[in-house]
Assembly symmetry: C2
Homo-oligomer: 336 residues x 2
DNA sequence: CACCTGCTTGCACCCGGTAGCAAGATATTT
DNA sequence: AAATATCTTGCTACCGGGTGCAAGCAGGTG
């Protein structure tokens, strides 16, 4: 680890010697609310400043059985929406005196590995950010037995007893379908990115249900497999090549903005069609670039700050609910 | 911390009792290469499995003075390029048995705070990812005195003795300028996102120098203050509104793809100009969306994987160099 | 001036591991 | 079979703090 082994950090004991007090008094000076005279505190602080001392959080964590570290599991880095979420999440965690351990869940490092690792590091909580265990994985009794509490962010929890914070999908899809219906669209399509995911299924289900309420029962289903612009484009390409112009959908809702942007590119570029005149497009997430004049994408914004505050509330224990569902905001732009 | 205080994890001592051995033997069973009989190891492993034991990495870190945690400082979450970099970085760190602590540097939590915090958590290294201390901050003697080793990723180091891994800016700008010159452009402009940053200045300087070699000494300088599509668009808007069409630049190099995408939107949308016919555009980073047919942005790709491998090599000590400069790749598309 | 109260301070022991030594057990040599 | 070499195992001490108790000390009271 390059040099680190040779590094000598000052300890409370050394500060104590310098200040002519015991190490416990030094620790008290650094523990708010503990009983210590002003005079001793001053002497400790002077010595500490001279020696550049600060308490070893590792040792403290070991003794107090609380690390104030939170593992954040992420398994999909393709969605740029993750970045502002990570920004808000790290910011609010830090404000709450916590720190994020970012764990990349992938083929080499799966959920079970990651959870075991996080547990070994004694994290205070695990945030499953946009990811969830598959049901099968759960048969492992790795869970429960003293594992750190888990929380799901921005996706439905699939595990009993694991709370989740989500954007209200029912409200979102109702708003979207109402808007599309008002605009006069009647032949809707839905593009999912990964049909196995519960969030995906939920959005699609609500989309279908609300259209049914409007008397539209036929929903064209496209599937992109991955959440990337190319995948979105490819999915549209397949659809358009199979479908006679007269039978085409007049509006396509994409499960997220990235798919939507890829879809728009494909519709305009390779097929020379217009958005929204030939096919209208709706996304989900309000990714910055969708708002640019090139795309002007109608989308739905998740209440990022509120969601992050809620999950932190769950972690620190001020919120008890099992599931927090927060309303987002429909952003109407030129693509519909 | 919700429940965590009541959680009881099994310790080596308890496993020892169950297996009828001492705690040291239990620990040996979990320490590769230590001297222990097959029989004892089997008994320990059985007891450990039954009790669901795994070693406490916190305690180990305290005893070995090595946490295998690396703090990653990020201060700009606007650039989507950060996300694939974070993906690669976390993946490779995990493969090396390290884990990333993601720290958000912002107004509430500045570099000095963050460094102090990282140090208190005994991280093995700090990666300044796309961020660097300003020179003034360094007058603090907070550095050096046993602080964890720091490494700068994707930006020039501004601190003596702090190694950096960067994409070769000289090579990149030479390739870009050669390409633009070949294509026949002769009136170049350069848009920076934050002129205070050394990386920005460096790219601009090379751009200017290589054009000078081609006999073009006048470079129009635009400034966007921030790295966002809007900022890029605004900067172009200001420029176009001030400049008579005849005097305009014929190619604009933007410091990164996000600025470039904003610039393209603005040029096409509000001004009805064509890219590349009226103004050609070059970006930097090869952000996925720039490759879409809507933008088809000529750009330069940083060698992400090599850069990440290099910085990890520095951290684990297999690479000694002070600065590693790696060649990237010019991606020529329709915008030039 | 003795006595009680309450704050400070030092102490033994603990958190859950690691390091290195020495005794005990086993294997090898002569 | 005795002596020696090698491997196992348990132990003490330690990493750098935190906890609860008891002694020390101050101030206030009768």
């Amino acid at each position: 680890m390059r040099k680190r082994e040779t590094i000598r950090r000052t300890t409370a004991k050394e500060v104590a010697a310098a200040a002519g007090l015991s190490k416990w008094t030094v620790i008290r000076a650094f523990t708010p609310g503990s009983s210590i005279t002003e005079e001793s505190k001053r002497r400790v602080m002077e010595a500490a400043a001279a020696l550049n001392y600060s308490p070893n959080l590792l040792a403290r964590s070991l003794a107090t059985n609380s690390t104030r570290q939170v593992a954040v599991f992420v398994d999909d880095f393709r969605n740029p929406q993750k970045l502002p979420f990570l920004e808000t999440l790290t910011d609010r965690l830090q404000a709450a005196g916590l720190v994020a351990m970012l764990i990349n869940i992938n083929n080499h490092f799966d959920h079970v590995h990651a959870l075991l690792h996080a547990d070994q590091r004694q994290v205070d909580a695990v945030i499953l950010f946009g990811t969830a265990f598959r049901d099968e994985t759960l048969t492992d009794r790795q869970l429960g037995n003293g594992m750190p509490p888990m929380f799901v962010l921005a996706r439905d929890s699939q595990i009993d007893g694991v709370p989740a914070v989500v954007c209200d999908a029912e409200l979102a899809l109702r708003d979207i379908v109402n808007h599309l219906h008002e605009r006069g669209y009647r032949r809707p399509g839905f593009m999912s990115g990964a049909t196995a995911l519960s969030t995906a299924l939920r959005r699609r289900q609500h989309f279908t249900d609300f259209w049914a309420e409007k008397g539209v029962s036929e929903i064209e289903l496209l599937s992109a497999e991955k959440y990337s612009a190319e995948a979105g484009a490819e999915s549209v390409r397949n659809y358009l090549s199979q479908m006679a112009p007269a039978d085409r959908i007049d509006v396509l809702m994409c499960e997220n903005d990235i798919l939507a942007l890829g879809a728009i590119d494909e519709i305009r570029g390779r097929h020379g069609l217009r958005v929204p005149e030939d096919i209208a497009i709706v996304g989900f997430d309000n990714y910055e670039l969708g708002g640019s004049s090139a795309y002007s994408l109608t989308t739905y914004e998740q209440p990022r700050h509120e969601m992050v505050e809620a999950i932190i509330g769950m972690i620190v224990g001020t919120i008890e609910a099992e599931t927090v569902t927060l309303p987002g905001k429909l952003i109407i732009r030129g693509s519909t």
